[in-house]
């Protein structure tokens, strides 16, 4: 940590990692008092940025069993501390894994997961690469992805946009996509929602008639054809694809001075 927060106009331009933090934060816009569960550092910074700015009701954890709030807040939904104010978090609640699973079932959660593979309808794989019976590479396992995707909103964070991740067909469906959800009988898919996919190149969503993945915005300096080239299936896109919003001086100051003064966010994209 060094000295006073720089004035807005003296600040250096936002890095790709910082643009990604701000883009991740947007995933939780409008969610109200639900648990934000980010996997990875940049999504965590995004959730906490949202909590400090436009989404003060969000619940966030310390990565283990404690719900933490910015010091100086008047409790959930209270005003957030001003930038440059008290930097320590306080504990506002307790959320052991058994209660995380209850919030999942109750739908009071929006998780941002990673993906080893993701297809055009948002089917996600984090379990293994190759045939499940004889995997070429065993990864984590399905974890909570099947339950998360049928119970509450899910977004994805992909630190390296590539054809290895964005594939025509995933090897094992862990988190279910829109085609699988549509095929469920009755109310099976009542709570299924894939919100955003944020990568180091772009923001994607599923706002198309049949919920195929759509290019929502490209990060500054990235072209539409570049993103398409890095994607193993055809992306829906408007004629004019907007540029991902760049975080403003207040967001940048919060990211740099308060949330991640050590600059670890840059390593997640290295």
């Amino acid at each position: 940590m060094t000295g006073d927060p720089p004035a807005g106009d003296a600040m250096t331009a936002a890095s790709v990692a910082e643009i990604c933090v701000a883009a991740c934060a947007q995933a939780w816009r409008g969610d109200g008092a639900i648990l934000a569960s980010p996997m990875g550092l940049i999504p965590s910074l995004g959730a906490r940025l949202a909590r400090l700015t436009f989404a003060p009701q969000l619940l966030v954890t310390d990565g283990e069993a404690m719900l933490i709030a910015p010091a100086g807040s008047d409790g959930p939904g209270g005003p957030a501390s001003p930038p440059g104010g008290e930097r320590d978090d306080v504990t506002e609640g307790w959320l052991p894994y058994r209660d995380v699973l209850r919030l999942v079932a109750a739908g009071r959660r929006h998780m941002m997961m990673g993906a080893a593979q993701l297809d055009r309808y948002g089917n996600q794989n984090i379990s293994c690469i190759g045939d499940w019976a004889h995997p070429k590479a065993q990864l984590l396992g399905v974890r909570g992805a099947p339950g998360n995707t049928v119970n509450h909103p899910v977004s994805y964070w992909i630190p390296r946009h590539s054809r290895r991740v964005f594939v025509g067909r995933v090897d094992l469906v862990c988190g279910i996509g829109y085609d699988r959800a549509a095929a469920l009988p009755g109310r099976g898919a009542a709570f299924h929602e894939l919100r955003l996919v944020i990568t180091d190149k772009a923001v994607l969503d599923f706002a198309t008639p049949d919920h195929r993945m759509r290019l929502r915005s490209v990060h500054p300096g990235v072209s539409v054809s570049q993103v398409q080239d890095l994607t193993g299936f055809e992306l829906a896109a408007a004629r004019q694809v907007p540029v991902t919003p760049v975080p403003g001086p207040r967001e940048l100051a919060l990211i740099r001075e308060r949330l991640d003064p050590a600059g670890l966010r840059e390593r997640e994209l290295a």
């Binding site: 283990e64 069993a65 404690m66 307790w94 052991p96 894994y97 058994r98 699973l101 999942v104 079932a105 379990s127 293994c128 499940w132 019976a133 004889h134 995997p135 070429k136 590479a137 065993q138 990864l139 984590l140 396992g141 399905v142 974890r143 909570g144 992805a145 099947p146 339950g147 995707t149 049928v150 119970n151 094992l172 469906v173 862990c174 988190g175 279910i176 699988r180 959800a181 095929a183 469920l184 009988p185 009755g186 109310r187 099976g188 898919a189 709570f191």
Partner: protein, 299 residues
């Protein structure tokens, strides 16, 4: 002869090797904790010293699963993941899966929770939404769905009870009768593992007199009561190298060394000879010795 006013107190104290001696090859064993957190590692090490093999292990998996696989004691793992937390992928689990030496029942975390809850409540199954539409149903053809008998007629996954022959969990404190206390931030699912099991064995950092339990922590920290517990073993540093806060954190350096043993069979053999071939006391001594040999890192 006992004085007339002397109260009989239950005594379930055993050694880790006694616990391993109660297990049989082919059993289904549930292991408490989560990832690389508060795992009953001293009991796992005791299994490695025994002849017990061909186990089905039910776990929110960490190095408990990895060690048992590396030693060739596991036929099947029932889990939603196996991870060392700070090292995302458990290397021995990976090796076992990629070499095809271990079978897998892969479930969503919520399904695993529900299977234990069903067994704890002596129900054949519990309905859950998790799994619908996913390949968990494809790779587990034994799983069935169930239709709600009410007006909604909703179709849900029927998670079968995960009945256990034995449960192994690690607590911060326990009394000789089997009342178990956790002092860290998360009970994980240790109480459910115990209730889902025919017999439950608890290791702990320290056995304290019953009357001292509440000076260690609040009433809510008394996670296990003795109706749920068959035996208790005092194993200081018994969760090593996983975390057991507030008594100690994870031994990251040791965990890295453990993870590296998956690289080559010789590396595993060396690790095994250095740490695992003796008893628990010699394990703890070897850990202390290896720590002393490392040059101190200036702060």
């Amino acid at each position: 002869m006992a004085a007339p006013d002397q109260v009989m107190t239950p005594d379930k104290v055993m050694t880790p090797d006694d616990v391993a001696g109660e297990l049989r090859s082919g059993m289904t064993v549930g292991i408490g904790g989560w990832g690389s957190r508060r795992k009953p590692m001293a009991l796992v090490r005791a299994i490695l010293r025994s002849a017990v093999t061909d186990l089905t292990v039910v776990s929110f998996g960490g190095p408990d699963v990895g060690l048992l696989i590396a030693a060739g004691r596991v036929r099947r793992v029932v889990c939603g993941f196996v991870s060392l937390d700070t090292i995302a992928l458990e290397p021995h689990f990976r090796r076992g899966r990629q070499a095809g030496t271990v079978e897998l029942t892969e479930l969503d975390e919520g399904m695993l929770h529900w299977g234990l809850l069903a067994a704890a409540h002596r129900l054949p199954f519990l309905p859950i939404r998790a799994g619908l539409g996913s390949d968990v149903l494809t790779v587990n053809p034994q799983l069935r769905t169930v239709r709600s008998p009410y007006a909604d007629a909703e179709e849900l996954v029927a998670v079968p009870a995960l009945a256990l022959d034995a449960a192994l969990v690690h607590m911060n404190r326990a009394d000789p009768g089997g009342n178990g206390q956790y002092l860290g931030p998360d009970p994980y699912f240790d109480d459910l593992f115990c209730l889902a099991a025919e017999r439950a064995f608890v290791s702990c950092e320290r056995i304290v007199p019953t009357g001292s339990l509440l000076s260690e922590g609040p009433p809510q920290s008394l996670l296990l009561n003795r109706a749920m517990v068959t035996g208790v073993a005092e194993t200081p540093l018994g969760a090593h190298f996983t975390s057991c806060v507030p008594d100690y954190g994870r031994d990251e350096e040791f965990q890295r060394r453990y993870a590296a043993t998956a690289a080559r069979p010789e590396a595993w053999q060396r690790f095994r000879a250095e740490y695992l071939d003796g008893d628990e006391a010699s394990y703890q001594l070897a850990v202390r010795r290896s720590r002393a040999e490392q040059p101190a890192v200036p702060a």
